[in-house]
């Protein structure tokens, strides 16, 4: 049986990808961040998940205002890195796990989450930066990846509660897959940041730290947070944090917080990273 071994939360700031791609990770600006990321990389080297389900958002790369799926699951065997306006990132092609992805599709849709299924899509920094955070700069990504793309750009995004329940549906789907696979679930984006307008550059560390605390011990308290509170307190782009709740929903009620790192600033963003081992994991 497949099982979920852990949830990983990480911001997906594009500048992190650029720092990796252009060999800047030891520069003074970047050193604290990449030192802070190292324990998570160590965890990945030891835990070696077979498949990572990455809950992320697309930034006008695969999707756009032309069509706006609320939840889109990548069911393809592979996903090329997207050209986001300055050429694709020089990272390996992302290999999917189409058999598990189709199982997820069937299970989750019959569980009454109406996913959009996508068989051709490039993946942008929202997905490839979390891979760079977890694995550095390998010749090939060391695991299969199933992209689960959430609309958080066009209002209204799905609620935090809906994302949390989607996570539960992901868990039910994974646990009903017969092959013995170790699965990690990523929730990406956030933390507080605002890219746009006169309020650009907003960061709210107090909000972020409280969010991390409650994500571990009382996620049910976070699921009722309305969109306006994310936008007001964590910045218009801070609403990406609803994707962390999808990751948390996929984990057992009791979890083991293995690692937490918080760093301000990374580009315009408060960077957050968490590794949460599943309490129900059988080791």
């Amino acid at each position: 049986m497949a099982r979920i071994i852990a949830g990983i939360a990480t911001s997906h700031v594009p500048a992190i990808g650029a720092a990796v791609d252009h060999g800047k990770t030891r520069e003074p600006y970047w050193k604290p961040l990449f030192e802070g990321v190292e324990p998570a990389r160590r965890w990945f080297r030891e835990a070696r998940p077979d498949v990572c389900i990455i809950v992320y958002n697309d930034h006008a790369s695969a999707f756009s205002f032309k069509s706006i799926p609320t939840f889109a699951l990548g069911t393809a065997p592979e996903f090329p890195p997207a050209d986001e306006g300055y050429g694709p990132r020089p990272v390996p092609v992302v290999r999917g796990h189409d058999e598990l992805a189709w199982h997820l599709a069937e299970s989750i849709i019959l569980d009454e989450f109406d996913l959009t299924l996508v068989n051709e899509m490039p993946v942008d920094h929202g997905l490839t930066v979390p891979l760079s955070v977890a694995f550095g700069q390998p010749d090939a990504w060391p695991c299969r990846v199933i992209p689960l793309c959430v609309n958080v750009i066009q209002y209204p995004p799905p609620t935090g509660n809906r994302c949390f329940n989607l996570g539960k549906a992901i868990r039910r789907a994974v646990e009903s897959y017969p092959e013995d696979l170790k699965v990690a679930v990523f929730g990406t984006g956030g933390m507080s940041h605002q890219l746009q307008g006169e309020r650009a550059g907003l960061i709210n560390s107090e909000f972020d730290r409280a969010f991390m605390d409650r994500l571990v011990s009382a996620p049910g308290e976070l699921t009722g947070t309305p969109h306006v509170e994310y936008m007001r307190e964590a910045g218009s782009e801070g609403i990406e944090l609803v994707m962390w709740l999808a990751m948390r929903g996929a984990l057992a009620g009791t979890i083991n917080e293995v690692y937490r790192f918080y760093h301000v600033p990374v580009s315009n963003t408060a960077y957050g990273l968490m590794v949460l081992e599943d309490g129900g994991s059988r080791g």
Partner: protein
């Protein structure tokens, strides 16, 4: 006019809602076209001719040609789309962040504000706190730039 929304009183924030989408759709579709290298080449060769292919308002055209980053948002632009235009120009998010601040703050000052912990939430929660917000901005602006920690960084 749409009914008032709970997020309307968040200052300096252009929520990508239905009204915003309908206002800025073609502007954003133009920006999206810059995802393709061929379109970037065509825009480099003749900006005005490329814009002719999109049914934008005159104000939107002007804002694109003049790189009016805040104006683009006010005219329905979305930051993830307008940033494609900024990336085309080789600009960073901090450069347009400074430009959108609307206070004359420089890129270096904007970066320093982030290094100092970001634009504070205090005074920036709602339009009712407007005075505080201006105070916060000018404080960040007035802060001297020390060393070169932010130089050349994203």
């Amino acid at each position: 006019m749409r009914a008032p929304r709970d997020y309307d009183d968040i200052p300096g924030t252009y929520v990508q809602d239905a009204a915003h989408l309908r206002k800025g759709y073609h502007l954003n579709m133009f920006c999206l076209s810059l995802n393709e290298a061929g379109n970037r080449d065509a825009f480099r060769a003749d900006e005005a001719a490329c814009l002719d292919r999109y049914p934008m308002t005159e104000a939107q055209r002007k804002a694109v040609l003049e790189r009016d980053w805040l104006g683009l948002l006010r005219l329905g632009g979305n930051i993830y789309y307008t940033f494609k235009l900024a990336a085309f120009d080789g600009m960073t998010m901090q450069q347009i962040g400074a430009a959108m601040s609307g206070t004359g703050i420089s890129e270096a000052e904007f970066k320093q504000m982030l290094l100092d912990g970001g634009r504070p939430i205090e005074g920036n929660r709602s339009k009712g706190e407007g005075r505080g917000r201006e105070g916060a901005s000018s404080a960040a602006q007035a802060r001297p730039i020390e060393g070169d920690r932010g130089k050349g960084e994203p």
